[in-house]
Symmetry: D2
């Protein structure tokens, strides 16, 4: 490869949240990109002053978001904006010929009615909603390769769908699915609210949005596609007193039995070629610390003595494989980089 490597110019809109900053850190180490524009709505100034982990590492300045300027300065834009804000800027970015990877939930649900029900607003850009490719590389790599616009998956859905995919795509006898999900608090964002204070969370643990979390329809949509018929997961979220990481414990009740060896073979085969999905051995379980600050999804398996209950545990870093790392993986695929570039 004697040609000079191409350099992609990228922008981050919404750099001041946890996923934005995580993404910036990853992009600054990526040899094939140059970050040319970073912006936020309520935070302006030199990145190294605002976020001193970048002291002496970058001269970037966080601008007040200006979509035209962003479009003029980049080949690809990452949107790390709050839900319901991305759909305001996606149309003009795409029209300007910029590739877009949207980390918000705005383009993940294909049915506008479902979006409206769970996110409380009418969808304003149903045209591009149809075009958006769901950016889970393990399922949609070929589509992502050709895509100009990616809806980057949610954190809980990433861990859940990767945990379920081999089983739901092959078994026709699934009776029920329960997802008991636990997440570190960075998943709730960088918002100044009392409920997210350290004094409230140290030593604490709780369930929240029990059976009514907005990630439920995203999970249901994807597992239904995989199984070729409507599947529903009972989903309960919990808040861990840590910053990073998700561990989901997933219970799948089957009508007919399966042995641990059989499930293990199924998963092994399914994820054989995947650089970022790691299957544990027969008697081992993933731990959040093993995936923290990585783009891995680690998976463990167990089966009940009657062989009808399969328990899958899946762990990711919610800010990496659950958000910014996966966004980078999608960029790598879309732009012809090595898929693991900047991620190992």
């Amino acid at each position: 490869m004697n040609e000079p490597q191409k350099i992609i110019r990228v922008a981050i809109l919404g750099v001041s949240g946890y996923t934005g900053i995580e993404l910036l850190g990853l992009l600054l180490k990526h040899p094939g990109v140059r970050v040319t524009y970073v912006s936020a709505n309520n935070t302006q100034g030199a990145i190294q002053d605002l976020f001193p982990q970048f002291l002496n590492q970058t001269t970037l300045v966080c601008q007040k978001t200006d979509v035209k300027e962003a479009a003029a300065q980049c080949d690809l834009a990452f949107l790390a904006l709050p839900h319901t804000e991305s759909m305001n800027v996606v149309p003009s970015l795409l029209k300007a010929g910029v590739k877009v990877i949207d980390l918000s939930a705005d383009y993940r649900l294909k049915t506008p009615k479902v979006y409206e029900k769970w996110y409380g607003q009418k969808h304003k850009d149903t045209k591009n909603l149809k075009e958006a490719v769901y950016g889970l590389p393990e399922l949609y790599r070929q589509k992502i390769k050709k895509a100009h616009f990616i809806a980057n998956p949610g954190c809980y859905p990433t861990a859940t769908i990767l945990g379920l995919a081999p089983l739901v795509s092959t078994r026709k006898d699934i009776q029920s699915i329960i997802v008991d999900a636990k997440s570190g608090v960075s998943g709730a964002g960088r918002k100044p609210v009392v409920g997210l204070l350290a004094s409230e969370l140290n030593g604490n643990f709780k369930a929240y949005k029990v059976l009514c979390h907005q990630h439920t329809p995203e999970i249901d949509a994807q597992i239904s596609i995989l199984s070729h018929h409507a599947l529903h997961a009972h989903f309960v979220a919990h808040l861990l007193p840590i910053t990073r990481g998700i561990l989901n414990t997933i219970y799948v009740q089957l009508k007919n039995g399966i042995t641990l060896n059989q499930v293990h073979q199924l998963y092994k085969k399914f994820y054989k070629m995947e650089p970022f999905v790691r299957l544990h051995g027969l008697n081992a379980q993933p731990e959040i610390k093993n995936v923290a600050n990585t783009n891995f999804c680690d998976i463990g398996l167990a089966v009940s003595p009657d062989k009808k209950m399969v328990v899958i545990t899946s762990a990711i870093d919610n800010l990496v494989k659950g958000a910014s790392g996966q966004a980078l993986q999608n960029m790598n695929i879309m732009c012809g980089f090595n898929e693991i570039e900047g991620l190992l």
Copy 2:
């Protein structure tokens, strides 16, 4: 009440573990008891030197365990010993006329075969095994009143059984029960092993003993008694990066539907008179911080839109309601104290 209050002399065997020390702290504040004897196998010396939270608060000295001496000095003995050790000392204590509350697992399972399967040893005291009363006051208060020997429930079983009791004792259409349990690390005891080091657990979370935790048969036995037929719970334990507290998320699949209001009424009625079980309102969920350092079991409820999945969350402090507080509550009942004495 003009009579002088009676004073009970109590001993703690195994005071140097987390439940032993927690119990000592509670007993020192109880107006009706005098702690006369504390012992351990590998730790000797003044309590206030060994455990400086007691600095200037007690002159007790931790002895090397001597059952005869213990029996001679107390009316009631708490055993905070490791599993498989309690059954070595219970017979002589009971023979000496001492009341016993055993915090280990040795007398919780009525079937010796089941004990042997899960704890790896033949049961050595099947005679007293038959006599032991399972010390869950919310279910067995009348038996505890007359008992001389109590098998104090396990931490996970306490949170699980209290979470399930109203439902399993009334519904005949239960299809499946899943208990996704999360515990702080003090539940693993005060053992010097690498896996329990702070460096291993800070920022971490994992499942362990998936579908094979030794508390499973204890839970199954009690819920089967309550429902008058064999019930089994799929049980998965997880380790939280905190010291104290358990939160269980319990999924009960029903054949027929139930509304949230109906479940709520059922629980409200069941626990109406209980001083230590607190039912949250319709849309609230328990949190570990609200029960930490208390003897409360807090319960929250949710029901799926199709009304067939009931989700119960129950939270306790594993060292208090899950061990030492419950032991004290049992002592209060056995010895004629006010049941809440020293616990509010």
Copy 3:
């Protein structure tokens, strides 16, 4: 003691902050008081709904603060208000004949100019400023007994002054004092700001307000009184990633030497009769966990080989001995209760 015990009616203004809630928890267990009024400015509703740790434990309702109503309903008012707000309500409460214990900083500094410099506002109530008794019982017990109005000490000053008192009140050869203070995050209050989020503090530690913390003049004033001449402490605060507790490491450079035994005897004698100050043995050091949730101040000592550097470590719970517990201790003294009532 055959007389019926008197019952004091107390109010808490500013109950919704961490010190207010801590105080409420302590007062509800105190046999000699009845909490008749609790209020806040931005939080209203049933206490057990707002703060579910009180579920089923109280029917109190948090009102919007109304000083007249408060005065009408109580014999003694605790002010757990933000700094610069207490001085707006103290005059009318005192005029109404209510005893007042102010947990804010408003009446701790005797010189209005100094107050203005450090808290950014002119003092509005210099008359009562003169009357306020500094509520550190170990130094001012006799004055507190007769007082109607108490300025409850700050958290850092409590740990610092108790750590220094025996030395500064006896040694005339002090060359310099450095206080390296570390506090849990509840000391920063229950304010929704990004810097106090769990995601910002987990796994973190930092110094803040280096050599310019507002508690410095409070410390300097008290140690100067004790030593009968002007003393200054270099004070640096740090933020620990925990909720509760302060540990101060205090370095006192002496001109002439002192042995560890001599310092130890000095402290032992000074605090001999104090129920809440605990001196560790010669080679032991306090730990925050031993004082968390207690009203104790634990102290450890060390001396350099050349005998000229004394290192004192002092630990308290910032919400208890550093705020609400000490306020209760002051109430006990002022109202003729046993000083330790409700605190052990």
Copy 4:
């Protein structure tokens, strides 16, 4: 640069501790090295099974340490062994022509008597002790370039010496130095002892080895070299309830004054060309989270109003700049790699 890059074969002896594992993670990402041998005394097996963060990332197998085999398989050996063990293996490794970087304390103190006093054993290899280069690149880069044998600095000394170097090497009026040091618990190693359990450390904080920590002579030796006369620092260590990171607060009393601007200029100039030392702006302070998982040492400055007390805060990751990252930096310098290779 058209030549193929040379590849260095490296070994890690003592890979199973926290510094060993950290080093392995760094080395596996370094393009210029191949890890050919990893060993430990009490841990054997596939690295990815023992430490699942490496799942699918390496096929290395941890051997029982065999110095001859190690020497045969590597060009450079890292010793991540406990203190007093390194000096047993260094002579044969050096004799075999292998370059050695020793992360233990065995070769840091040039005077055998001082070593014996602080580490409790006679030094067994005084010959190589004389040859060892103290591996702090910011001070000894030119010596490291030519060295075959490096004594990698301790974690506390690294943060302390970098914090003090500009001042002690220029000011002749230093009256006293106090180092109030705080470290995460990984600094205590991966040893199964009760005092390091999560249940003991969660929510806790304490001082330890007050004025008698074994890193004191290492600090004193280096600051004395820098100042060209004997300097002593009063050193107190504290244990933070986090895994990684050290923050030192250093108090330097000067006889004559200095302004904040002057100190800042002094530090700016001193560290101008250093890739891993980052000086904060005039009113900012380092935080552990900004250096965690990096090789940076961040420094903040403050001066008292009388200009005679300088407060320096310095933060590092104890496992990276305080151990394995610095070892890698030394390797880069010794072996002709870019100094920052594998570290940014």
